[in-house]
Amino acid sequence: MLQQLEELKSNALQELASIADAAGLESWRVRYLGKKSALNAVLRGISCLPLNDRRAVGTLANQTKAALEDGLQQKELALREFDLAAIAGREAVDITLPGRPLPVGGIHPITRTIYEICDIFTSMGFQVVEGPEVEWDYYNFEALNIPEEHAARDTMATSWVDAETERGERHMLLRTHTTAVDPRVLETMELPIRVVTAGKVYRYEASDATHTPMFHQLDGLAVDKGITMADLKGTLYEFARRFFGEERRVRFRCDYFPFVEPGVEMAIECLVCRGAGCRLCGNSGWLEILGAGMTHPGVLERAGVDSQVYTSFAFGIGLERLPMLRHGIDDIRLFFGSDLRFLRQF
């Protein structure tokens, strides 16, 4: 009996080794481990055996069953791995071929710059407002202390709109700076105010590598009790820190704009030479980034804001210059050329 079991085990395992597919394995299982198998018959017949033999036969029969089941499991595993490998081999592809293309869109670098700067200022409590691009002479110039024949008008060559107006002496023009939105904001919004506005501005100028008749600016205005130039410096410094990076040095110097007093120009350390002087910065080591100042009392009063009670600061940033500096773009006309070979780079 015991010997029969040993033989059964060795035959079964030998046979198992030569099985190559799932069907063979199943018939093997039925033959050796199924209900009608010899081993099962032995196990069922144990109770009929003499008491003396029961233990030895029972032990060996159970060991044999365990061995066969173990062998079955391993064989199953081996066969599955083999099958998977076969499938993988059959289904292999050239993984170096390109994927099915999706059309890839993108935001214009100027728009991206506007969003980035607006995000910085909105996080400081400024809200984004808009104003007209076709504007009255009054808002673009007079309300900002730039009357007719003021020398400052020469620096902002103006495109005039050919339109009959009932308002007579008030001429229509393409705004030369987004600062034109400031007097409108002062006239209409409730105090205190913190706003930024971004958009297109126009100059009567021929195109070249550094000029286009249309470009973009962003202006900011804050009006409240107790606003100081220290607040202006702090706000602009925060902007520069976030936009140009923590390490970049910032310089504030006196400058003149008719609508602010005192006036400020902010420059950052040159992106190329870091202050040593190079062609980009005209050997000064600094790059002018924006103009700003404490809003001139005349501008506030003209718009009905009491300059004895409220103080205010304003700033204006040319937007093309920033991506030009950041990406090393050497021709401003590229922004408005709609060339995908340019735009897709950003």
């Binding site: 059309p103 003021h150 020398a151 050919d162 913190r194 009567y204 249309m214 100081t228 995908l340």
Partner: protein, 798 residues
Amino acid sequence: MKVPLKWLQEYVAPSVPEDDLASKLTMAGIEVGERQAIGGSWEKIVVGQLVSVEPHPNADRLKLVTVDLGTEQLTVVCGDPTLKLGDKVPFAHVGATLIDGRSGEQFHLKSAKIRGIASQGMLCSEKELGISDSHEVIMVLPAEAPVGVPLADYLGDTVFDLDVTPNRPDCLSVIGIAREAAALTGQPIKINEPVYNEGGTPIERQVAIEIKAPDLCSRYCAGLITGIKIAESPPWLQQRLLACGMRPINNIVDVSNYVMLEYGQPLHAFDYNQIRGQKIIVRRANSDEIFVTLDGVERKLSQDMLVIADEQRAVALAGVMGGLDSEVSPNTTAILLESANFNPANIHHTSRLLWLTSEASMRYERGIRPELAVPALKRAIQLMLQMAGGEAAAGFIDVYPGRQEPTPILLSPELVTQLLGVEFSPDQIVTVLTSLGFNCERSASEIRVTPPYWRSDITIAADLVEEVARIIGYDRIPLTMLSRPIPKQDPKPIFRLKQQVMHSLVGYGFQEIICFSLTSREALNKAQTRADDDKPPLRLSNPMTTEQEFLRPSLRASILTALAANQRHEEGVIRLFEVGRVYLARPGDLPEEPEMVCGVMSGAGSKKSWHGEDRPVDFYDGKGVVEALFQQLGVAAKFEKGQDNGLHPTRQVAIAVNGQTIGVVGELHPEVAQAFEISVPTCLFEIDLSAVLPFASDHRMFQPIARFPAVVRDIALVVDKDTSNQQVTDIISSFPMVSQVAVFDVYSGAPVPVDKKSLAYRIRFQSIERTLTDEEVNDIQQQIMARLATELGVTLRN
């Protein structure tokens, strides 16, 4: 404004190195740009004196010149016939770097044989030294030039090129900059009162001045010098003019220019003998008065321009330019010297209308002060007597209708703190202002400040605050953050809507472009936009080119131009969009400026790829983009038959929101495509975002997700050929329990009759309250079929 430092140092001795001075001026508002070093490259060039001039043995036109250099004497060959024994000249040793007189290129001087004679160096012209363009003659140095000394030590200088802001005409002068330098470096300024002998006949007996337009001429001063001799100015004066970018002419003109550069006051010298009637009349020009300015150009004047005239005719365009026939000539023996003050706006106006700017007009239009007229006049007379001899008439004429007493400004130290956010003591404030020439009287709480006469830019207390801040230094102002509560937000959500639209379109593979708002008549015609029909587009009154003449009433022309341009180098799918304003004229008011989005998509269908070729774009691609966009915006858009001239007549729809048409989408009209040279199928959409804005609310209420399963039925219908999908879906979706209806097949051809087509729909029936039974659904479906049959003659297929 160019300022040679040696000149500046005549008035102030800045205690700091050149770099620091440049930096201080820049920080204080007068930006130092280029810094030109005169003589920076003058190595191996020294002052020499001619000790012999002999003819060249082999050339008639050349000379052998021996030059004493102090320690040695060298002989060179020279072609300048005007050189005399004893002249002092710049001598370049072999190895010196010079500028070639003809080509303007730098070169290194080598020893050379000229016509058989060795030349051991070279005598230099001004051009060869880089001082001026003069190359005809060798530069002759003043007699006091020390022989043997390096030329750079004797003539070298640094010239600051300053960017003076329009509010500071006083800084368009060497003395003005000296005053700034003095205040910034804590040094005193020294300006000598000009003195001269005035021995002649009292001026009143020789000339009369009348101001007929006192609103345009606040002051007119004149001096008179007789018996002068016109000649060249001395070299030092010529050098200074050249360093400042002005060309020397003769001693009288040069002195007027020199004093203008020194004091900032324009001066004009008339040939006294050309002033008819010995009378100067300051008057408005007659209309169409013809006047020839000294640049020889004949100009037609108008009544709003001011002229200086004698009894018969205009002799100068006031404050802008003198006249040709009264200018100082080599034969002039007596001059009338004008030092006047004119209305800045009027000078600006005249100069702008005539396209004529000058050093004088530039100063007048920025508003120099009338007080400047007398000191500058005296200084000019002093120098003219020195340079041109003659005799000054006794006294000078001073007609001063615009005299204004200086107005003191009250400045409280609190205002300084209030504006700057940092406290300066009254002592500090007074010290700064005094150093700039302001007169300060202190009381308990305020400082009474009277600006010096040369400062035309100081009118209010805030101006004084800037003076304090810029001299003490903007660096001294701390950095603080706005500390008050954030103001009430009153959002204008168009900015957010634009951002949403852009992000959606970028997600659909569109690239944003930005085009010029100005366009040409031709481009507008090509796009055949609807705006052509109603209102003409706004035109500029001064267009730079016809390409940039009209404000665009639609974004289409520019985006189609951009598409065509990109198709020249781009294969396959191109998707572009622009978000921008269009300008629609309104009578008597600013135009309306709605924010628009315009997109184009074209698939060339020719891009070779291993995935197969792209399918050409059609109407449904464009409509799909618009549908997706409105779904993302949460705006219910309806599509109606479109009538847009620029789009394909039968492959376009108008987009309607809340019953109002707010845009279009469709295939490009074949003629428009041809006009823009677009050869592949193209879809275009244009949507008025300002009109969408009121409906693009973020306020959406949550809808519970249905808990009960949907019953899905597919039905294939046979309908008349011209029945639209919309007609069918409108009926189906009007039934209760129909939660969704979608067309999934469109078919025509056998076995469907020729005048019919087949549409297949998948309908989802769903209740939010319970599970629907088959019987219920069957019942609804029968009702649907019945209505489709009666209203549209629809039958079930098979």
